[in-house]
C-alpha cells in the first residue's frame, strides 16, 4: 500500500470505484480492480495504525494488559466509528419469566428475545484483524437447504460456481490445508487441487481424541442417527510449510508480516490467533493492502454516512465524514463520486447504510435474515490417568468432527460442526485464570463473604497443573437459517452514535430448528466425553440466579425435569442482511452481489449469503468478493467502451 490518505484528499474527486470498508471483501476487490488499473477509493471508518510494526506491537501489548482477552481487546475504543463488543452484553440476575435475560449497553441496540452475541471491528483490516483464520469451504448441500431439507433459503448459485473463486481466495489469503481430507468431505471437488501450504500440524489434543474415540459410534438422539466419528484437519489461513506441488508445481511463496521488511514466520504457536497473532503468521487483509497498486487510495477515519442517488436507478457516490481524535468525534462532511459503489462494511453496517440511504430495498429484505453460528460450548475433564493433554497450545482449533454437518438429519435438526478446542476452557469459563481464582477461593461467595475453602502453595500448583492440563472444550457451531424476523433496523430519531449516524437496532432469536440443533450438539458432546472417559462438566443451569448469556430452557421428553438448560455463544459470523437471489422481489442482491435496484451499487460480504452452512464464512465471503471483482471490472470496461485503462507500472505516492 502507499500509506493511507487523509479524507480531504479524496474530497469531491471522481473515481472508477468507491469501496466502503477495508476488511477482507473490500481489500480483495480493491486489489483486483487496482491491478486492472482502475482508480479506486477505499473509505475505512476506523483507525489505521496496525499496518506499521510499531502499531502492531502496541496492539499486542494492549492485548497482554487486557483482563478480558476478547476479540476487540487489542484495539482502542473508537467513539467516532464504534464497534460492537462482546463486552457490551450482560446477563440479568433472576430474570422475569418471558422477559429478555440480558442487557446490551454498547453500539448495537438489542431488542430481541435472545442476545446477538457477535462482534465486529471497524478498523483498517476490519474484523479480519481478529479472526481465527479458519477457512473450511461450504459443502454443495449447504447451498440448497430449502429444496433438499425444507428449511432456510436457497442460493441462486451452487458450490460448483464458487470452486474457482475459492481456490483464488485461498491463494490470496494464504491457506494451509490438506486437500485430500477436504475432497473426502466433498467440499473440494477439483481432483488435482492442493492448498498453497501443507496443513497446519494437528494438535496433541486432536491426536488424543482420535486415539480415544476415533472410529467410535456416537448416537445423536435428536436426529435418531448414529455417526462414526473421525477427526478432520482444519484448513487455516496461517503460514505453514509451502507445498511445492501447488499450482501445478509452481509452488507458493508465503507472505510475511506487514510493516516490517523481510520478517515473516510460520505459525510458532502463540495460541492467541483470536485476537492477534504476534508474528502475523495468521493472515489479515493488511497483506492484501500491501499489494495495492498505485491507483488505489485508502482513506482511514472516513465514515460513510450515506450513498448518494444519481440519475435514474444509478447511484453517484457517497457522503462521508472524517474525524481527528477518535475520542472526540468532531467531524466534517465530504463527498466523493464514482461509477461504481461497493459496500463492504460488514453485514450489519451494509444494512445500516442501505436503510439510512433508503436504497436497494424494493424487496423489503434489507436488514432481514440476520444470521450467526450459535455456538454451544461444552467442557469436560479428561481422565486423570491420561495425564496432561496439552491445552492452550497451538491455533484455536486444528481439527473437528464433521459428521454432524451433513445428511438427512438436517431435515430434523440444524446441522453443526464440532470444533475440538485447543485452548482449554478459555471460552466457556475464562480458564486458566478463573481456575486460579476458584482454586484459591478468591472473589467471595454469592453473599460477598470471603470463601471458606481454597488451596495454596504446592497443593495449588499440583491441582492447577492437573485440572487445567486435562481441559477439553468442544465448540459446536450450529447452522442458523435465514429468518426474516431476525433483523437489523434503524431508528435515527432515537438511536444515534456520537457522530450522529444511526445505530443498528437488532432483533434476534433462535427458531425451533436451530434450538434443536443446539440441543442435539449438547447431547452429542456429552456422549463424546463419556465415550472417551472424560467427565462432562458442561452445565448451563443459572448460578446464584445468574444465567449464562444466550441461555434458554429447552423442553425435553426424557429428562426428569422435562427440560434442559442450554446456552450459546455468538461466533462472530454476522451474515445475511442483504441476501442474494434470482428474484428481485424476495432478495436484495443478485449472484454477483449487485443490488437488484441499482445497477452500479454492490453490497458484498457475508450479508449476501442466503445460508451459511456450518463453515466459518470468511473464505466463502472472499470467494464471493473475487467473483464480484470480475463482474465489476466487466461493468467498468463496458462503461468505458473498448478503451481499457492500462495498468500503471509506476506507483504514485498519495500524501498522507
Amino acid at each position: 500500500m502507499n500509506g493511507t490518505a487523509a479524507a480531504w484528499d479524496a474530497d469531491r474527486r471522481r473515481y472508477d470505484a468507491i469501496i466502503v470498508g477495508a476488511g477482507w471483501s473490500g481489500s480483495l476487490i480493491a486489489e483486483r480492480l487496482g491491478a486492472k488499473g482502475w482508480q479506486v477509493l477505499v473509505l475505512e471508518a476506523g483507525n489505521g495504525g496496525d499496518e506499521t510494526w510499531e502499531g502492531h506491537l502496541d496492539a499486542v501489548r494492549t492485548f497482554h494488559s487486557a483482563v478480558a482477552k476478547v476479540p476487540n481487546s487489542p484495539y482502542r475504543r473508537n467513539t467516532a466509528a464504534p464497534s460492537p463488543d462482546v463486552l457490551d452484553l450482560a446477563p440479568v440476575r433472576d430474570p422475569e419469566p418471558g422477559k429478555p435475560e440480558f442487557t446490551a449497553n454498547g453500539y448495537l441496540v438489542q431488542q430481541g428475545a435472545l442476545p446477538y452475541g457477535t462482534d465486529y471491528l471497524r478498523a483498517l483490516g476490519g474484523t479480519g484483524m481478529h479472526w481465527l483464520g479458519a477457512v473450511p469451504r461450504m459443502h454443495a448441500d449447504d447451498f440448497g437447504t430449502d429444496t433438499d431439507y425444507g428449511y432456510g433459503r436457497d442460493w441462486p448459485i451452487g458450490a460448483e460456481d464458487l470452486q474457482r473463486h475459492y481456490a483464488e481466495a485461498e491463494r490470496a489469503m494464504g491457506v494451509a490445508g490438506d486437500a485430500d481430507e477436504q475432497r473426502k468431505l466433498g467440499v473440494v471437488t477439483d481432483p488435482d487441487y492442493v492448498y498453497p501450504m501443507h496443513g497446519i500440524p494437528q494438535s496433541h489434543i486432536d491426536d488424543y481424541c482420535q486415539k480415544r474415540v476415533g472410529g467410535h459410534e456416537i448416537h445423536d438422539e435428536v436426529a435418531g442417527e448414529t455417526y462414526t466419528i473421525n477427526i478432520t484437519g482444519l484448513p487455516q489461513a496461517r503460514n505453514s510449510t509451502p507445498d511445492p506441488r501447488y499450482a501445478g508445481g509452481a509452488g507458493y511463496r508465503p507472505k510475511g508480516a506487514v510493516g516490517l521488511a523481510n520478517y515473516g514466520e510460520r505459525c510458532v504457536g502463540n495460541a492467541s490467533c483470536v485476537p492477534i497473532c504476534p508474528v502475523q503468521a495468521r493472515s489479515t487483509p493488511l497483506r492484501i493492502q500491501a499489494g495495492f497498486s498505485g491507483s488505489v487510495t485508502v482513506a482511514t477515519r472516513s465514515v460513510v454516512t450515506r450513498v448518494l442517488r444519481g440519475r435514474g436507478a444509478y447511484v453517484r457516490g457517497v457522503e462521508y465524514r472524517t474525524y481527528g481524535d477518535p475520542a472526540t468525534p468532531v467531524s466534517r462532511s465530504y463527498t466523493a463520486e464514482a461509477d461504481v459503489v461497493v459496500l463492504a462494511a460488514h453485514a450489519i453496517e451494509n444494512a445500516r447504510l442501505l436503510l439510512f440511504s433508503e436504497l436497494a430495498n424494493g424487496s423489503d429484505q434489507v436488514g432481514r435474515n440476520l444470521m450467526d453460528h450459535p455456538t454451544m460450548v461444552a467442557w469436560g475433564l479428561t481422565a486423570e490417568a491420561d495425564g496432561n493433554i496439552g491445552p492452550f497450545r497451538g491455533p484455536g482449533h486444528t481439527s473437528g468432527w464433521e459428521e454432524f454437518r451433513f445428511g438427512d438429519a438436517r431435515g430434523t435438526r440444524a446441522p453443526f460442526r464440532i470444533e475440538i478446542g485447543n485452548w482449554g476452557w478459555g471460552w466457556a469459563n475464562g480458564a486458566p485464570m478463573s481456575n486460579v481464582a476458584t482454586a484459591l477461593g478468591v472473589g467471595g461467595d454469592a453473599a460477598g463473604e470471603v470463601r471458606d475453602k481454597g488451596i495454596f502453595g504446592p497443593e495449588l500448583r499440583r491441582f492447577l497443573g492437573s485440572t487445567i492440563g486435562r481441559q477439553l472444550q468442544l465448540q459446536c457451531a450450529v447452522e442458523q437459517a435465514a429468518d426474516p424476523e431476525n433483523r437489523v433496523t434503524i431508528d435515527p430519531r432515537k438511536h444515534r452514535d456520537a457522530m450522529g449516524n444511526p445505530r443498528p437496532v437488532i432483533a434476534y432469536d433462535l427458531d425451533e430448528h436451530t434450538r434443536k440443533g443446539v440441543y442435539a450438539a449438547y447431547l452429542v458432546a456429552g456422549r463424546i466425553f463419556a465415550e472417551m472417559g472424560a467427565q462432562n462438566r458442561t452445565d448451563f443451569r443459572p448460578v446464584g440466579g445468574l444465567p449464562p448469556l444466550g441461555h434458554f430452557v429447552y423442553p425435553t421428553d426424557d429428562s426428569v425435569d422435562g427440560e434442559v438448560h442450554l446456552a450459546y455463544h455468538g461466533a462472530g459470523h454476522g451474515a445475511g442482511t442483504h441476501v442474494m437471489g434470482a428474484d428481485r422481489s424476495t432478495s436484495v442482491v443478485d449472484s454477483h452481489q449487485r443490488t437488484h435496484d441499482h445497477p452500479n451499487l454492490y453490497a458484498v460480504g457475508c450479508g449476501s449469503m442466503p445460508s451459511i452452512g456450518t463453515s466459518n464464512p470468511t473464505v466463502t465471503m472472499a470467494a464471493l468478493a473475487l467473483r464480484s471483482a470480475e463482474r465489476i471490472h466487466q461493468d467498468l470496461a463496458e462503461l468505458h467502451g473498448a478503451v481499457l485503462p492500462r495498468p500503471r507500472t509506476q506507483k504514485t505516492e498519495v500524501p498522507a
Partner: protein, 214 residues
C-alpha cells in the same frame, strides 16, 4: 518502603505459590507485585497483613489461622503471581480493608501477564507470548505434576498447611465442583468474578440413592 525487602517478599511468596525462589525471581516481577499488593491493600494494612501471614505460615495450622480478610489478601497476592492480575476481592474483605480503589480486576502490567505462573503449572506458555515454535503443539506435553523440586524443597511443611476449609488433600480424579469455575456468564465478567461450579445434578441424585440404601 515499610521494611519488607524484596528478598523477604519472595521467600514468603515461595510458600504461597509453590514455586521456587529461582522461579519467582526469574519472572522479574517481584518488585512490581510487592508494590501492587501494598498499593491495593493499603500501606499500613499491608504491614499488619504481612506480619499475620508470616506468623500463619510458621503455625502448624498454616493459613487456616488467618482472619477472613487476611486470607483474602493472601489469595489475591497468590492470584497476582499466578496471573499477573490483581483480582476482585470478596466484597466483605474489600469493605473491611476500606480500600480507596475500585474493586475490579486489573492487569498489573503487560509483562505481568506474560510472566504469570499459571501457565507453568501445566507446562504451557501465556497465550500470545513465549511461543514455543512451529508444530510444537503436536507433541505430547510433559506430564503433570512435575513439581518435584517445589515439593522436595517444602517437604518439611506440615501436612494441610496449604488447605483452608478442607481436611483431606484434593482428589484429582474426582475434582470437587466448588474448586472449579462455573461458566463465565458473560465476557465482561473478570476471571476472579467467575463463581464456582454447581454440584452436578446426576451426582446429587446418586448421592441421595446411596444414603437411602445405607
Amino acid at each position: 518502603m515499610t521494611g519488607i525487602s524484596e528478598q523477604e517478599f519472595v521467600r514468603t511468596c515461595v510458600r504461597l505459590t509453590g514455586f521456587t525462589e529461582y522461579d519467582l525471581y526469574g519472572t522479574g516481577m517481584a518488585g512490581l507485585f510487592l508494590g501492587t499488593a501494598r498499593d491495593q491493600v493499603g500501606e499500613d494494612r499491608f504491614a499488619v497483613f504481612w506480619a499475620a501471614l508470616k506468623k500463619a505460615l510458621d503455625d502448624p495450622q498454616g493459613l487456616k489461622t488467618l482472619t477472613p480478610t487476611h486470607l483474602e489478601a493472601a489469595r489475591a497476592l497468590t492470584y497476582l503471581w499466578y496471573t499477573g492480575a490483581w483480582p476482585r476481592l470478596a466484597p466483605a474483605a474489600h469493605a473491611e480493608l476500606r480500600r480507596q480503589q475500585a474493586n475490579t480486576e486489573f492487569m498489573a502490567a503487560p509483562a505481568a501477564y506474560t510472566e504469570g505462573l499459571v501457565w507453568r503449572t501445566f507446562h504451557g506458555h501465556p497465550a500470545g507470548a513465549k511461543a514455543p515454535g512451529f508444530g510444537t503443539w503436536a507433541a505430547k506435553p510433559p506430564d503433570v505434576p512435575a513439581t518435584g523440586e517445589a515439593q522436595e524443597e517444602q517437604a518439611e511443611e506440615p501436612a494441610g498447611a496449604y488447605r483452608v476449609g478442607m481436611e483431606e488433600p484434593v482428589a484429582l480424579d474426582e475434582v470437587p465442583h466448588d474448586l472449579l469455575p462455573a461458566f463465565r456468564a458473560s465476557r465482561d465478567i473478570a476471571p476472579s468474578e467467575v463463581p464456582t461450579a454447581r454440584a452436578p445434578e446426576a451426582d446429587g441424585a446418586a448421592q441421595q440413592q446411596k444414603e437411602v440404601r445405607a
